[in-house]
């Protein structure tokens, strides 16, 4: 089982081999409220670390999802097109947004692990 890591923008990435699955954290989905639409990237898009990868919309807000690492999009969760609520129901599972083929796996280790992220959340509360 891969380890989940987090960015300060509340994205998570879980890595298996050289592919990372990216979505938004449980905390982020709770803050955002009911997700009504997700603007997905295209497979083949090349994303730099910190580049906009997707947009998650609730009724009154549109939040950019930034890629926590760099790489090429190899899959997108097209279930979100008809069921954006998957992000609310299961952010870290069925609510994943995209899969990225990592160009630099070292970028992942620089992100926060679960405990560090929880501390980070406490610090911004």
């Amino acid at each position: 089982m891969s380890q989940v890591r987090y960015s300060k923008d509340h994205e998570y990435i879980s890595v298996e081999g050289d592919v990372g699955t990216i979505g938004i954290s449980e905390h982020a989905q709770a803050q955002l409220g009911d997700v009504v639409f997700v603007e997905l990237p295209a497979v083949g898009d090349k994303l730099a670390k910190g580049a906009q990868a997707a947009v998650v919309e609730s009724v009154k807000a549109a939040s950019e999802v930034f890629s926590p690492v760099s790489g090429e999009v190899v899959a997108i969760n097209s279930d979100l097109e008809s069921e954006p609520s998957l992000i609310n129901e299961d952010a870290l599972g069925k609510g994943w947004i995209l899969k990225l083929k990592l160009s630099d796996p070292a970028e992942v280790t620089a992100l926060m692990d679960e405990a560090a992220y929880q501390d980070f959340l406490k610090s911004i509360a």
């Binding site: 009911d34 009504v36 639409f37 919309e57 609730s58 009724v59 009154k60 954006p84 609520s85």
Partner: protein, 515 residues
Amino acid sequence: MLNNQGRPTRSGEASTADTHTFTGNRALDMEEALIFETGRLDATGVDIDEPSAFVSRLGAHARNSEIGLPGLSEPEAMRHYVRLSRKNYSIDAGLYPLGSCTMKHNPRLNEKMARLPGFADIHPLQPTSTVQGALELTSDLARILMTMTGMSAIAMSPKAGAHGELCGMMAIKAAIEARGEGATRNVVLVPESAHGTNPATAALIGFSVRSVPTGADGTVSPDAVRSALGPEVAAIMLTNPNTCGLFEREIAAIAQAMHEAGAFFYCDGANFNAIMGKARPGDLGVDAMHINLHKTFSTPHGGGGPGAGPVVLSKALAPFAPVPYIVARGDTLDFVEHIEGSQAFGRMTAFHGQMGMFVRAIAFILSHGADGLKQASEDAVLSANYIRVSLNDLMSSPFGDRPCMHEALFDDRWLKETGLTTLDFAKAMIDEGYHPMTVYFPLVVHGAMLIEPTESESKASLDLFIMTLRDLALSALGGERERFTAAPRRAPRRRLDETRAARQPVLKWTKPAPA
């Protein structure tokens, strides 16, 4: 004289419990179907005689498909729209304290004047020799707006505030291009507290937006502006009085910093109602500012428009003003409608702007006069401060106990212990017969509540509003929840499921499939 008819003379068993009705109506509050559900395809409420025989010149272009829209007779249409109207709140019915929106009284004289055939029934492209009165009225209004703002030029054609912003920013872009800096000056500074239209406007014409922080006192400091400045900066878009309801004290220094850096100062004039006859943007170093005629001069809001957004311009921007503009040729007035041979940056809209709104605005201005406009601003500001000091022992002000301009801003810190939100508080106001204030704007304040009473409220009206808000606040602080979380309970509708509306958008009526 006995009651021989047996008519009941007491209210009897009347209960206050909400009761079910067969129709779903609640007495005067009536449900109303969509016109598509009640009208008939073969019905029409307009009597038109069929033309006598003629040879069609439509050729192969004639429409063969159904339009699919039913018609209503006039009594049916009347009832439909009157019933719908009764589901709306309005200024005519009550205090409408929407901050940043200036919901003031709409004098009916303005409506009457705008409907004179000499204004309502003239065509924008009929010969200018036949519309000299319209050109004169437009010129008169232009001159008055320039006098009120202390600016040297004006573009009358923009259709609303955001369109005026676009016009002003285009003039700035044209001036920068004329200097040969079009490729290098491409950043616009926008304070965090700005209206959403400001960054949207800048982005629309290719500027990138750089955010300027709002200081702890709710205003923008010249230092913050200077540290964001550079040779790539084209302009700042600053609202004054700002969206926190405060006058930007350092505005002249900010303007100077911009000008020294070779950049321009666009002022969002949405809040001009606070300073009519008190300060002139031209004296403060402003290069361009739109004036929302539908706010400041009450041309009314009409459920979301139409507006009008003339833009006043400084001497530096004047040559770039768009067409059309009016010039005098001898003793007649004429339009310049083409840019050739001038530096005019182009055209904002077909025709000449919102004439119908110009008539209303000038009727409002003439009625008030210089003395009445100044008094209106003073009353608007006094009323906002009266509300502020009457509530600030219960509700929290984000920027401390300082005078505001024409709107009073509160945040939601005072609600923290109650578990209630700004939205809950706003919805509870609906049950008390008030339209809520602007909520969650400006974005720099958490749970913002922005109250703008305008000059149109009597003291008795303000006092009742204050007492109502105090009662609500005490009730919230006293631990009552349902008055807020279940609100509104007495409006035509309870809270709406906005998530459902956005997840599966239904944006028009479609005929139900036969069962």
